[in-house]
């Protein structure tokens, strides 16, 4: 009976966590549509989540686009299909790698920072202080960050898509002897609106996940420096896993039809 009980306990604990996260998400959405709104906090969150993530996202997608071009070239050459490089790089970047890499990089950067910041505020009673100053911590801390991340990630992913395609282009033109103009037309002709839009929708979902995980773990941080450290780790790990899991589900949704 013992192992069965352990499995049952773990399952119950998991369900409890899912329930708490769902409640947290519902609460942040309900605060999103009720005033007051903290525009200054929102602007600040937009800046730190969106603008300051640009270098990380740009570099990641640039190198990945380049590597992708090399891989597809070497794979394609096995059945004389080297010409697919531009279109596969474009589709791979826009549908899959752009949003996922952006999501994961931002998860590392932003979910950690949010969890550490809010966790420290929790531990030093700043969250309690907010409440006594007639400010709802969900509205003041969670809503601006979740909204900013949800809006910023599609933009970041779009920039990442473009830079990734450029990485492929640079490698294609300089290393693989593609004609520059032909590479460009190939890329543009093959891409469909649906490819781009589905990627951006994914990115928005990832942005929501990243900020939500950062805020959730920060708000529920344990006591002391250890509590904050654990909250930060949990935020990054759970955001990353949720991004990859939801990426699969969204891909099924968009492309199974």
């Amino acid at each position: 009976m013992k192992p069965l009980a352990a499995v049952g306990r773990a399952a119950l604990a998991l369900l409890a966590v899912i329930g708490r996260v769902a409640l947290f998400a519902a609460s942040s959405l309900s605060h999103l549509v009720r005033p007051p709104f903290y525009f200054r906090e929102f602007g600040h969150a937009l800046l730190t989540i969106g603008w300051f993530s640009l270098p990380v996202v740009g570099l990641t997608t640039l190198f990945t686009g380049g590597a992708l071009a090399l891989q597809i070239y070497s794979g394609g050459s096995r059945f004389n299909a080297e010409a697919v490089v531009p279109s596969i790089v474009a589709i791979g970047m826009v549908r899959e790698l752009g949003p996922v890499l952006t999501g994961l990089m931002v998860a590392g950067r932003v979910a950690a920072a949010i969890a550490a910041e809010i966790g420290t505020m929790r531990v030093t009673e700043q969250i309690d202080a907010l409440a006594t100053l007639s400010t709802n911590p969900m509205k003041y801390l969670t809503v601006p960050r979740v909204l900013a991340a949800t809006l910023a990630l599609p933009v970041l992913a779009a920039v990442g898509d473009a830079i990734g395609i450029m990485g492929g282009y640079l490698v294609g033109v300089t290393r693989l002897d593609f004609n520059a103009a032909a590479y460009m037309t190939n890329t543009i002709d093959f891409l469909e609106t649906g490819d781009v839009v589905s990627g951006l929708v994914k990115a928005a979902v990832f942005g929501f996940i990243v900020a939500l995980m950062g805020c959730y773990h920060g708000m529920n941080s344990g006591r002391g420096a250890r509590g904050v450290g654990r909250a930060t780790t949990n935020a990054v790990v759970s955001a990353s896993i949720l991004i990859l899991a939801s990426n699969y589900l969204l891909t099924e949704l968009f492309f199974s039809a």
Partner: protein, 248 residues
Amino acid sequence: MIEVRGLFKRFGANEVLRGVDVTVPKGQSLVVIGGSGTGKSILLKCILGLERPDAGTIRVAGEDARRSDREAYLARFGMLFQGGALFDSMPVWQNVAFRLMRGRGRLKRAEARSVAVDKLRRVGLGPEVADLYPAELSGGMQKRVGLARAIAAEPDIIFFDEPTTGLDPIMAGVINDLIREIVVEMGATAVTITHDMSSVRAIADRVAMLHAGKVRWEGPVDEVDSAPDPYLRQFVEGSADGPIPAVR
């Protein structure tokens, strides 16, 4: 004004509050004393709804704390946290003016700033402090900024959790006078936690002593020195010998 009845609060096996009853009439100043770790801070947090009590009722001006609208309920309180709890992402003056710049009837930035500078002056801090960040202040200065923030919006009820710990004797005297003044002039209801008997004598109308999860002694401040209760005697005299064990 504040009525606490049969308040219980435990953390795991640690039963911190075991049936606390206190009443603070409107416009009065209650000082809560008691050994370290007896649950004084937790008592205030329960009244504010920051900790959920396991049992008991809390009424403020006749309203049940749990039933009334939380934001309206909290709007009448000001609180100085034991650790200061200053927002470290914003400069001192914005900490002090935090509530003034938000919500209904908010002040313009410049106005809020001048109110903040004025409150800072009342806690003995000059205008040059206004633009520093909390991390750039000493512990005692942070405490005083927390005090300025607690009184900035002129709330009806103010809680001070160890307002004079970490202050030099002169500054402690200034703060004691300030708290007394807030109660007498603004008519505020105050609950202060302190370990400092000179603060008790300066601030209190009534004194309550927490021990073993209950109010051990409660009475007017001028009876503190004559009351026969051995626990109170030991605490007031600061003696290691007595019914309160030194290792807790």
